[in-house]
């Protein structure tokens, strides 16, 4: 099939960007979206034009590197799918695809479709961990954890940090991302000792990084390639209230 691509091109973080149009013939329905970009890039190199930069690595939906808006949809039209897992059989000959980077004040564009998501790392550094030194823990079976809790914790922990939730949110909020970690550790006994510090510190950092506030559109969870459940956000809100009003934190 032949596609009409309209792709955001931007030389670097200081430059002005713009949408450029490309016609791409010879797209096979078995290709992944990124493989389609690969052949576009081969075509561009052949013509002596600089190829489109995009973050990607594992190409199997778990590293969280890739991601772009395709016709205004995070990671394209499919649900629970990363851009690398999106296949071109989803489109048809003659389709126009508008491809843009994530847009967020906290994700500055570095080049073309590549954005800087280090704000996500800083949120995790603010408290997304259990303080346990190597070598000190007790036997793994010493504290039984109900199977359902472990499964629920996994559902939150599965977040790949792609940034799609922020991109999808009309407010550019990072609530689902932040809440996924808070809810994951809240579900487990290991996370209890630091739960108040964790939620206060992570939310503080999230706000400082310039993300928006949640107004409960729930678009994040719909766009999330791992389907991180929306109740994570309720959990984080509750944890935040609990830490604010019922703990000694901040006295």
């Amino acid at each position: 099939m032949t596609l009409n691509l309209r792709i955001w091109r931007q030389k670097d973080s200081h430059a002005e960007g713009a949408i450029e149009s490309y016609e791409l013939p010879g797209v096979s329905s078995d290709m992944s979206f990124l493989e389609m970009l690969d052949i576009l890039n081969e075509q561009l190199i052949g013509k002596g034009e600089e190829p489109v930069s995009f973050d990607h690595d594992c190409r199997e939906g778990v590293c969280g590197s890739c991601g772009a808006m395709v016709n205004g949809q995070v990671h394209g039209p499919d649900t629970e799918t990363t851009l690398c897992q999106l296949h071109m059989r989803r489109f048809k000959d003659g389709d126009t695809l508008q491809v843009e980077p994530w847009r967020s004040a906290a994700f500055p564009v570095l080049k073309d479709l590549v954005v800087d998501r280090s704000s996500f790392d800083r949120i995790q550094q603010a408290g997304g961990y259990v303080s346990v030194a190597t070598g000190s823990p007790p036997d793994a079976n010493s504290v039984p954890i109900p199977k359902d809790d472990a499964e629920a914790a996994f559902d939150y922990a599965e977040c790949i940090g792609c940034g799609g939730c922020v991109a999808a949110c009309p407010n550019g909020a990072a609530m689902l991302f932040t809440a996924a970690k808070v809810a994951h550790l809240k579900k487990l006994p290991q996370g209890q000792p630091e739960r108040e510090r964790r939620v206060l510190s992570m939310v503080d950092t999230m706000d400082k990084e310039g993300f928006g506030a949640c107004t409960n559109h729930y678009e994040c969870t719909a766009a999330c390639p791992k389907g991180v459940p929306i109740d994570a956000i309720a959990t984080m809100n509750r944890e935040y209230l609990r830490a604010t009003f019922f703990s000694k934190e901040g006295v």
Partner: protein, 219 residues
């Protein structure tokens, strides 16, 4: 040191919790308000409504309640403006094409605009029945009848109430989520109740201008 309070009210999560709380209280007010207003339909030429209005206006705590209510509104509005501004700042450059995976709704996307419409309507409503207090207190039912039998005023009221309905259809579930009130057993039911409540309040309120527009009991 009240640093923890400051931290709370300046955080996005804290602000949203306060917005939810003020919103839920305002919903409580709306329920009470509608319950009282339903006496307009008593079919007794306004006797019941007049009695209700007089009872309210002679309550000794009314001034305090009014101030509290005003503060609720103002707080809710302030938080909405601040949140909306910060959310705009969080995405300085938008998308050239916008799409969805199906969750964001008309109501969720228009909370601020519907809020503005509701505010405008509220000002009009206060002007009609609160700022011209003497006229209203003299003959409550008649002044309602007079105001709403004017097609323009009735239309403005209907518009305002529709905006309120849209606002409310997102509000209740959203408020519970913002307050972290979530449980797999109850959340689906509570969200449904929120929708029912929005519809009920809308129908309840909107029936009033329709009723008087169509002539009310005097015809």
């Amino acid at each position: 040191m009240l640093s923890w309070i400051e931290r709370f009210v300046s955080s996005s999560v804290g602000r949203k919790a306060l917005m939810a709380l003020t919103g839920l209280m305002l919903i409580g007010f709306l329920i009470a308000h509608l319950a009282g207003n339903l006496s307009l339909f008593a079919g007794d030429g306004g006797t019941a409504f007049d009695a209700y209005a007089h009872a309210i206006s002679s309550l000794p705590i009314l001034p305090i309640a009014e101030v509290a209510l005003a503060l609720l509104f103002l707080g809710h509005i302030y938080l909405a403006v601040k949140t909306t501004r910060e959310n705009r700042r969080a995405r300085p450059q938008g998308y050239s094409v916008t799409g969805t995976h199906g969750e964001k709704s008309f109501a969720s996307k228009t909370m601020f605009p519907t809020g503005v419409v509701i505010l405008a309507f509220l000002i009009k409503h206060l002007w009609d029945f609160r700022l011209q207090k003497e006229a209203f207190e003299e003959a409550p039912y008649a002044s309602v009848q007079q105001a709403l039998s004017d097609p323009l005023t009735a239309s403005v009221y209907m518009l305002g109430i529709l905006a309120l309905g849209i606002h409310l259809s997102h509000a209740f579930g959203s408020a519970l989520q913002s307050l972290g009130a979530n449980h797999p057993k109850y959340t689906p039911a509570l969200r449904a109740i929120g929708k029912v409540l929005a519809v009920a309040l809308t129908l309840g309120f909107i029936s009033i201008p329709i009723y008087f527009w169509l002539g009310g009991s005097s015809s």
